[in-house]
Symmetry: C2
Subunit: 131 residues, 2 copies
Amino acid sequence: MADDQVRQAPVAMRTGWPDTYFALIFTTQRTVSDENMYQITADRMITLAQQQAGFLGVESVRGDDGIGITVSYWRSQDAIHDWRTNSEHVVAEQMGRKEFYEWYHVRVAKIVGHQTFDASLDSDAGDNLEE
Amino acid sequence: MADDQVRQAPVAMRTGWPDTYFALIFTTQRTVSDENMYQITADRMITLAQQQAGFLGVESVRGDDGIGITVSYWRSQDAIHDWRTNSEHVVAEQMGRKEFYEWYHVRVAKIVGHQTFDASLDSDAGDNLEE
């Protein structure tokens, strides 16, 4: 499933990412509606997002209690705007409201600092956070 | 567990939140190290964060594959700075590097737009995202 692919290919080192980028933070509570239909739609949205201009990466987790957080990363607010108004995405959003989610939050955020730790390197892989 | 409390008390309506606020996005991959010690530490960090000045709320999910995303929300970058340099937090971070995490990312982000949907209200509870 695409969801597993996402998990197995986390945004690790951010190689080649711009210094300034944006996040779309999508927090959701699943209903008890059809899991199969949900998963097909969720997988399709990941695939579609990856094809959008300005897409950088995505991290997605859902817990056993049905709460999920998906954070996707983008080069600009315009890229996020284009993704959020993509016609197929808009249809999926309507399905989400009708079927899949009890509630959700969408937040757009500008990344102003990051730090990466990788135990296999035993060091900070990148850090521009001021302490 | 505090982690469950977090899940059962998601950041729903943002009542009383400021128009401008910040997120600390913490993405992690757990090692196979001791779950009990990890959970005690993670719970303590949630409790401690909630006591910090400028704390607004937190959303936290971990999947079966050990990948977790915790997003906490804060009134200012200074509040995030104070949290990240809290002495007990710093000790927990060192334990995290040594024991709990294969890798992690910490990102600080300024929220520039949000939208909330609640099926029980069958409407947008709040929306300042320009489309």
